[in-house]
């Protein structure tokens, strides 16, 4: 699997004669999403499912209640964090496909620290901040391994991050299976292989403060970090350095920027975002570590990062779309008997059409003089 996205593809096109100019970066994804939805609906009809019922249960699952909306938003928050980490590293032309593993080690670290006696009694919100920081550190180390391998011996980061993900996912299994690690004490043969639930004070606060609408702090945090990432990438010297190294490592090196340092830092940051996503999932939603904890969020977040094409706004928008899409899809399966995999088909169609359109646009660019 090789994935590469040009770090910036800012183009503008004239859509209608009134002079209103819409960036192609907006029109193309929107058109792709609409077209993919149309195909999805067509598939629903072809499968013989009642269209109205499928649609209503889809909307119900995505937006039907404050609970449904909250779940979708939490999902979107995780996607956003992973996507932000992806575009950060991608600015240096690095492809971090290891968010799944970074989420997993983040979850392990967050659980472990949250269960340490005394952490739950920390004042000033430190009770959930400390586990969160631990998760970010774990994710950063996990990403940093790939960064050091790449910087030192040139290992392809696509391969190393992917393999590190497999390791991390199995680490979660090990942690929840072994009583010496994080498994809750076995009181009976029916004790599930999962960790103890984390203390309430270490849980990420809910925006509403109400478990009926369990939207946690993840999304506001993602918004804030999106702005931070946009500023760093667009307006800081480090962003300049990332871009220079990403476009042309030789020229960047000649200009005095260390390519090795850039690669390692980019991966530390991307990994920290993955770890943070893991913390948000565990401390804000699942409250105990179970086998299969990361369950594909890392890969979905990767797709979000890819589709955003380097834009933080794109990350948030795509994450929201995918968040609601997933929740709606699950509800559609239960309510109308349409397989939730249909949502995966729609997601796939969006990916193919957006990247296809981007490819076509890049080729269509007027030849240089």
């Amino acid at each position: 699997m090789t994935i590469s996205v040009p770090p910036s593809a800012r183009q503008r096109t004239r859509l209608w004669p009134s002079g209103l100019v819409v960036p192609l970066g907006v029109t193309i994804p929107v058109a792709s999403v609409l077209a993919s939805f149309a195909v999805g609906l067509l598939l629903v009809v072809l499968m013989g499912a009642p269209l109205g019922q499928a649609l209503s249960s889809f909307l119900d699952g995505a937006f039907g209640s404050s609970y449904a909306i909250s779940v979708s938003l939490n999902r979107a928050a995780v996607y956003s964090l992973v996507g932000l980490g992806f575009i950060f590293a991608n600015r240096a032309n690095l492809t971090n496909v290891g968010a799944e593993g970074q989420i997993a080690v983040g979850g392990i670290a967050a659980t472990a620290v949250a269960l340490v006696p005394g952490i739950a009694d920390l004042p000033l919100g430190l009770s959930f901040v400390v586990p969160t920081l631990a998760a970010m550190l774990a994710g950063a180390i996990w990403g940093g391994i790939a960064g050091v391998l790449k910087a030192r011996i040139g290992t392809s980061e696509v391969i190393s991050t992917l393999l590190l993900s497999f390791i991390a996912v199995w680490l979660v299994y090990w942690c929840v299976q072994s009583e010496h690690l994080l498994r809750q004490p076995m009181t009976s043969a029916a004790t599930l292989p999962e960790s103890l639930p984390i203390p309430e004070t270490t849980q990420l606060p809910l925006v509403t403060g109400d478990y009926g609408a369990p939207a946690n702090l993840g999304l506001p945090l993602a918004f804030f970090l999106a702005i931070a990432v946009a500023v760093v990438l667009g307006y800081s010297r480090f962003g300049f350095q990332l871009k220079a190294v990403g476009f042309n490592p030789l020229a960047a090196r000649r200009a005095g920027f260390s390519t090795r340092q850039t690669i390692v830092v980019a991966f530390l940051v991307a990994g920290a975002f993955g770890g943070l996503a893991g913390a948000v999932m565990l401390l804000g939603d699942q409250y105990s570590l179970k086998a299969g904890f990361s369950s594909g969020y890392g890969y979905d977040g990767l797709v979000v990062g890819l589709l955003a094409r380097g834009s933080t706004v794109g990350v948030i928008a795509t994450a929201l779309l995918f968040g609601f899409l997933r929740s709606g899809g699950i509800s559609m399966e239960m309510g109308a008997g349409v397989p939730a995999a249909l949502v995966l088909v729609i997601q796939g169609l969006i990916v193919v059409s957006v990247s296809g359109a981007a490819f076509w646009l890049d080729r269509r660019q007027p030849a240089k003089e």
């Binding site: 770090p7 910036s8 500023v231 307006y235 800081s236 010297r237 480090f238 962003g239 300049f240 350095q241 871009k243 220079a244 476009f247 042309n248 030789l250 020229a251 960047a252 090196r253 000649r254 200009a255 005095g256 920027f257 260390s258 007027p366 030849a367 240089k368 003089e369």
Partner: protein, 532 residues
């Protein structure tokens, strides 16, 4: 006389029996850019027809139309008087048109014969038959080629011969050569031109793209000057019309031409330039000392062998040599991107051996790399960003870029160095080659505390106007007391502007002499590896 006409119009040739290939009002556009407009020209059997013009004037486009790589948008191409519309190179080859491209298209790991067979043989490849054919061609044209030698082991000149034999083996009626001498040594050029002559005498129409006036003098029967996609002048007596042809090419009186430029074009002896050379005396301590520098590559092959060279402030030292004799390694060592295996590099009084690139920059070393796309600039970033492509010079406040300061400084630099662009925020890749090079020069020459400027192949691929500007900038820096090391494969260029010339051969400096046109023969021999 030549029918020079500023509007680009000329008397339309009536079709003559001798015309093998003729263009009639041909226009070719790329997007909104007209690469050729309304070109009418005829190539005759038995003649060498030179196409002269600056980079981007449309010479290559003309060749590519004849060879079928591009298709004309308007007008007509005729082959032996009949309309000819090749849809691809295959059609042209079938019609007897062969072309030697600007860059080699050979497989290094295969033998000469196998390279000839490539793309020619159908079914079974009879090596011996091809070898015999090759033998016959080499004796006929006086070439020296071993049929079973590996192409990778051949010299650049011999490889160019293989390219030509690849064409001749098809017995073409029209042979197109796109700047075939650009990479060759003086001796090799002479040999190649003889072959070209012989091919023409045998009745082939030869189209030779060049910007070397000496070649035109030696070999051309007819010259067409192309400027901005139009025919600017034609001459049937090129030997006598050289000056008029140059004037048509650059569209300026020759007197206004930079003397170094005039000399490297082969128009005047450049006495003006050389008067400077005498003026430079010792000016104190050396600005740059390269002391017994040796570089071995990853496989242990010695690329630079105890190179020792010192340059004084204000001095221009030229390094000449056939490409691949250690120039790239020397450039990388001096940029700080390749630490030498042995030896020392001292800039001013700082020993920089083994230090990172930023230390070289800080010591006052400016580098115009030989490949501006690979090392000198980042085409995907904006012009402003490229003008500030230096860690220590990016203006920041609290870690954030000061975009407005950068923009204003960029505008100043653009004005000072005549970098032409629609604005400082355009993509660097959208600039012309000349403007890209001027931007790289602008960045390197405005480096604070500049002591030494390494300019590697600074005029490669630039048009006459830009070349002249680059010479002017280099000379201005030298007058400010900057020591200049000019690495170039263009011998004439080095002779025109350097005070001193060193010849690099297989990683060693095999000779040094003053930069004077009279040294041309001697330097040429040294470049080819003959000891003086």
């Amino acid at each position: 006389m030549i029918p020079v006409d500023d509007a680009g119009t000329m008397v339309v040739n009536r079709h003559s029996v001798a015309d093998a290939l003729s263009f009639h009002g041909v226009t070719k556009r790329f997007g909104s850019f007209a690469a050729l407009s309304d070109v009418t020209v005829a190539f005759r059997r038995g003649e060498v027809h030179c196409l002269l013009g600056e980079n981007g004037a449309g010479k290559s486009t003309l060749c590519n139309l004849a060879f079928g790589i591009h298709q004309a948008d308007a007008g007509e191409i005729r082959l032996d008087g009949a309309p000819f519309r090749p849809s691809g190179p295959g059609d042209s080859l079938k019609a007897g048109i062969a072309m030697v491209h600007q860059h080699f298209s050979l497989v290094d790991d295969m033998s000469v014969v196998d390279n000839l067979i490539l793309g020619q043989a159908r079914g079974i490849a009879w090596r011996r038959a091809f070898a015999a054919k090759l033998e016959e061609l080499t004796t006929r044209y006086g070439l020296a080629l071993k049929p079973f030698a590996r192409v990778g082991d051949l010299s650049i000149g011999e490889r160019q011969c293989v390219e030509i034999v690849k064409c001749l083996i098809r017995q073409p009626r029209i042979l197109i050569l796109d700047e075939p001498t650009a990479v060759l040594l003086p001796d090799e050029i002479k040999g190649l031109l003889e072959v070209v002559r012989r091919v023409a005498v045998e009745g082939c129409a030869v189209i030779l793209v060049t910007h070397k006036l000496a070649e035109i003098r030696d070999v051309a029967d007819r010259v067409t000057v192309v400027r901005q996609g139009r025919v600017a002048a034609q001459s049937q007596t090129p030997g006598q019309d050289i000056e008029a042809l140059v004037r048509a090419m650059i569209q300026r009186p020759l007197e206004a031409l930079d003397p170094a430029m005039a000399m490297s074009l082969g128009i005047s002896a450049g006495s003006e330039v050389k008067r400077r050379a005498a003026r430079i005396g010792p000016r104190g301590p050396d600005a740059l000392q390269i002391d017994a520098v040796t570089v071995k590559d990853a496989t242990g092959v010695v690329r630079l062998d105890e190179v020792t060279l010192t340059i004084q402030p204000g001095e221009i030292v030229g390094i000449v040599g056939v490409e691949g004799n250690g120039q790239s390694e020397l450039g990388a060592v001096l940029a700080g991107t390749c630490p030498p295996s042995a030896g020392r590099i001292i800039v001013g009084d700082l020993d920089l051996t083994g230090r990172p690139p930023q230390a070289f920059s800080a010591a006052g070393m400016g580098v115009v790399p030989e490949d501006r796309h690979a090392v000198g600039a980042i085409t995907g970033m904006t012009l402003t960003e490229n003008l500030f492509l230096d860690r220590s010079r990016v203006p920041t406040r609290f870690g954030l870029l000061r975009r407005r300061v950068m923009r204003e400084a960029a505008l100043t630099m653009m004005a000072q160095f005549d970098v032409r662009a629609s604005g400082p925020d355009v993509a660097f890749g959208s600039l012309s080659g000349g403007n890209q090079q001027k931007a790289v020069l602008a960045r390197e020459m405005t480096r604070p505390g500049l002591k030494v400027l390494l300019a590697a192949q600074p005029t490669r691929g630039l048009d006459v106007g830009a070349v002249e500007a680059v010479y002017g900038l280099i000379r201005a820096a030298s007058e400010r007391g900057v020591a200049i090391l000019l690495i170039s494969s263009e011998l004439d260029e080095v002779l025109a502007i350097a005070n001193r010339v060193a010849v690099l051969y297989r990683g060693r400096i095999v000779g040094e002499c003053r930069g004077e046109p009279g040294q041309r023969e001697r330097i040429g021999a040294l470049m080819a590896g003959h000891s003086a």
